[in-house]
Amino acid sequence: MSAMIANLRDWLPELLVAAGDTLEMTVCAFILAAAAGLVLALMRLARARALSVAAHWYIEIVRGAPALTLLFLLYFGLPGIGVTLQAFVAAVLALGLNGAAYLAEVYRAGIEAIDKGQREAAQAIGMTRPQLMRWIVLPQSVRIILPSMGNYSVALLKDTSIASLISAPELMLRARDLTSEYYMPMEIFLLVGAMYFAMAFPLSWGVRRMELRMQRR
């Protein structure tokens, strides 16, 4: 028992730092996914056919292949054409570009869920397209989009664990290092699992609360 406490004293500081890296990676990838996803969604809804087709295929291809292939292509494949990325950067790019395809569909569903009559009514009273987006469509879409974005952030937080497979510094990599040092995989991975739970559960609880509040209105 005291040996276990001594081990915990060794592991916890390192794992907490690594959990900080996991959160940092999650936030960076989330921002990239939210921004790139918005661009994709606008392209998808654009009147220019080339833009909308390009966005459509980006979304289909990226959502059809595992995030891990994109991650490995960026990290192991790009050096072949002279672009070498840091593991952390490659992980943020891969997770962010992967998430963008997902969030683009979320945005689109949110915008398309608003009844067409509202748009027509806004145009009838003389609003321009940007105006009706700003004042009529988006305020309502946000209620549909936000819970999905919240759920995505929970999934992303867990998905950052695959960044350990390209040795990007985060929680899972630190755990693997510790297991090769101490050879106590059960204890270490259970502890790490508990740490992910401590981050992901409050987040998903918060998202559910938000979902309920948005439905009530």
């Binding site: 292949a65 292939t69 192991f76 072949g80 867990k158």
Partner: protein, 229 residues
């Protein structure tokens, strides 16, 4: 760079053979994990809609714990962790069990919402004619809920198919793992990972077409059902 593409084209038949065989293992893990996930999801989904508080609590704990921890961590606990305490699983079984238990938590919520979508009057009616709760579930609720949950289950299968790539981390000989082996032999990483992406797309795109088809048919089914009621 041109040289490496030349080499990749020369080696293409070899790559295709190895990767397509590995894709079969990917499908095996997907199917194996899916079967376990459906069984667990249905069982816990029924528990989650139970009138008993403890049964509901058991299902809730299962769902929340397994949905809040990355599947990679769960795989490592099953493969390396259980190995430490003497339960040694081969990588393939560890992957199937890991994805099955993890997916079960997700499908529990899917089945719960399917069961709850069936009108409460149906359950009351079957109780009124003397059916027990298990009988009601078996003959009245679940057969109807299955229709409702088919589209989300389809989406889950697509997600699972892609997620099995993580099994490469416990050396299960699936697509991603064999791609890594080929790359260590030939150093043609971009070419091989692009092939891998294409193989995944060939499997997932038809599945997502099918799911969308199911979704639109279900939508129609619902409308028709509403009209007859």
């Amino acid at each position: 760079m041109i040289e490496s593409w030349g080499r990749a084209i020369a080696l293409f038949p070899h790559f295709a053979e190895v990767l397509l065989l590995a894709a079969i293992t990917t499908v095996e893990i997907t199917v194996g994990g899916f079967v376990i996930a459906v069984i667990l999801g249905l069982a816990f989904g029924i528990l989650k809609t139970s009138p008993h508080r403890t049964r509901r609590a058991i299902a809730t704990v299962y769902v929340e714990v397994f949905r809040s921890v990355p599947v990679l961590t769960q795989l490592f606990i099953i493969y390396f962790g259980l190995g430490e305490i003497g339960v040694r699983l081969d990588p393939l079984s560890a992957a199937i069990i890991g994805f099955g238990i993890n997916g079960g938590a997700y499908l529990t919520e899917v089945f719960r919402s399917g069961i709850e979508a069936i009108h409460a009057g149906q359950m009351e009616a079957s109780f009124a004619i003397g059916m027990t709760r298990p009988q009601t579930m078996r003959y009245i609720i679940v057969p109807q809920a299955v229709r409702i949950v088919l589209p989300p289950i389809g989406n889950y299968v697509i997600g699972l198919l892609k997620e099995t790539s993580i099994a490469s981390a416990v050396a299960a000989p699936e697509l991603m793992y064999q791609a890594g082996t080929l790359i260590r032999q030939t150093f043609l990483s971009s070419q091989i990972y692009l092939m891998v992406a294409v193989i995944y797309l060939c499997m997932s795109l038809p599945l997502s077409r099918l799911t969308r088809h199911l979704e639109s048919r279900m939508g129609k089914g619902k409308a028709a059902g509403g009209a007859t009621r």
